[in-house]
Amino acid sequence: MPLPSLAGLTQKSVVGIADLAVSTNPNVELATYSLGSCLGVSLYDPVSKVGGLLHIMLPDSSIDPVKAALQPAMFADTGLPAMLHAAHKLKADKKRVQICVAGGAQILDTSGIFNIGRKNYESLACVLQQHGLSVQAEHVGGLVSRSMYLNIATGEVRLKISGQPNERILWTS
């Protein structure tokens, strides 16, 4: 009996908190869920069709260098270089990559003490600048948590906002 065709089926590959994934498989969609104050960063090279997704938890690796060595994706300053390196190995070109960012929610805080979301964003902006990269599209801050999806075949980035029924397109390659 012939095997059923799997063409057209997209396989969801989940990127956990403080983790990253890169892929060239057009049947794969990278997904990361529940971005609270964390940041999701997607990368896509539309020519080599390499995609990556990163789930950053904290801004600065200097608070725990041991953890950063084991799990570079946990921090903005080590996570982005780690994803760029992994994507480069799959033939992604830094000059062509499109970057999208989502997450970094903030509670209502005038004291400025609970500002992990904002600090994550500032740290990421700094690292992106160091690498000469700019952000194509972003949906950051505010009171909502988000999930983020990157389709490897098309480079499309979608968002699901917690408590809202429909997904929305953040970027179309």
């Binding site: 529940s34 609270g36 608070i63 505010g142 009171l143 909502v144 917690s162």
Partner: protein, 280 residues
């Protein structure tokens, strides 16, 4: 009977908290606790005992022989850990269902509650406070939402819109629309279930620990545990972050803002272990 009681009385099918949970909590605070007394209390409920044993055995190192009874489980993993298993098993039935009045899907309140419990326990351990008290209070901190969900079902849209438009905390909008908050209702429910006053206070004041007349530290532990759980993405609903920053909560605990990232890492590590145990 006041407004808090009337909301609680309106809920038709509220799964009961086994009365032995608050009794166990009281025993827990006794340094000379008699473990036979504890075993007797737990095993009074056979189906709970079976589930607790199963959870304890999952927590044992893989490859080691399972514990056959509660007494053996206490000997091998300790009274405090067995107690936490009892609380988890007892509250899961209540916390797992969806709460449409808050836009909470099935399993979301449970996951958030466990994450908050683990974060609060992590804080308590770091700060030298009672871990099991912080764990229990944090696990049950949103129990009032089960009561108010029904009342909010028809005005959920309004709750979200008003919160967003006024950049208010969700509890503030609850108070305006219903006259009560989930924190107050939760505290009253725990009083009815005969939980000790420190637990009741921690739940009632988990959004404003500095206003608690006493037991401010445990309330602050739950407050910060709650924020850490949300930050790590273990939250739910639209406008999940609609809550106030309380710098005085950190002062109460003697925690500096710069300590939070490190505490988040510890909480996430501990949660990952519990996550696989409970298959969350």
């Amino acid at each position: 009977m006041d407004e808090l009681d009337s909301y609680i009385n309106k809920v038709k099918k509220l799964p009961p908290m086994p009365p032995m949970v608050p009794q166990l909590m009281t025993l827990l605070n006794d340094p000379d606790v008699d473990s036979e007394k504890v075993v007797k209390l737990i095993t009074y409920d056979p189906s709970l005992t079976a589930n607790v044993l199963q959870a304890c055995n999952s927590a044992l190192f893989s490859g080691s022989a399972p514990a056959d009874d509660v007494g053996e489980a206490i000997m091998r993993i300790g009274f405090q850990q067995v107690y936490r298993m009892v609380v988890l098993v007892s509250s899961s039935r209540m916390l797992k269902p969806s709460q449409t009045g808050y836009g909470i899907d099935e399993g979301e309140l449970w996951k958030h509650s466990v994450a908050t419990a683990v974060a609060a326990q992590t804080l308590a351990k770091e700060l030298g406070d009672n871990e099991s008290t912080a764990f229990t209070a944090a696990l049950l901190h949103d129990i009032g939402k089960i009561i108010l969900s029904q009342a909010l079902e028809h005005i959920y849209k309004k709750l979200v819109e008003e919160t967003e438009a006024q950049q208010a905390a969700l509890v503030e909008t609850e108070k305006r629309l219903l006259g009560v908050t989930h924190a107050e209702v939760g505290g009253r429910l725990l009083t009815r279930w005969k939980f000790p006053p420190n637990l009741v206070t921690a739940v009632t004041f988990h959004h404003e620990p500095g206003s608690a007349p006493e037991h401010q530290r445990v309330a602050a532990c739950v407050y910060l545990g709650n924020l850490i759980a949300y930050s790590l993405g273990h939250g739910y609903g639209h406008l999940a972050f609609a809550q106030r920053g309380r710098a005085d909560a950190l002062d109460l605990l003697g925690v500096n803002g710069d300590d939070i990232p490190r505490l988040m890492i510890r909480a996430q590590e501990n949660f990952a272990a519990v996550q696989s145990l409970l298959q969350l």
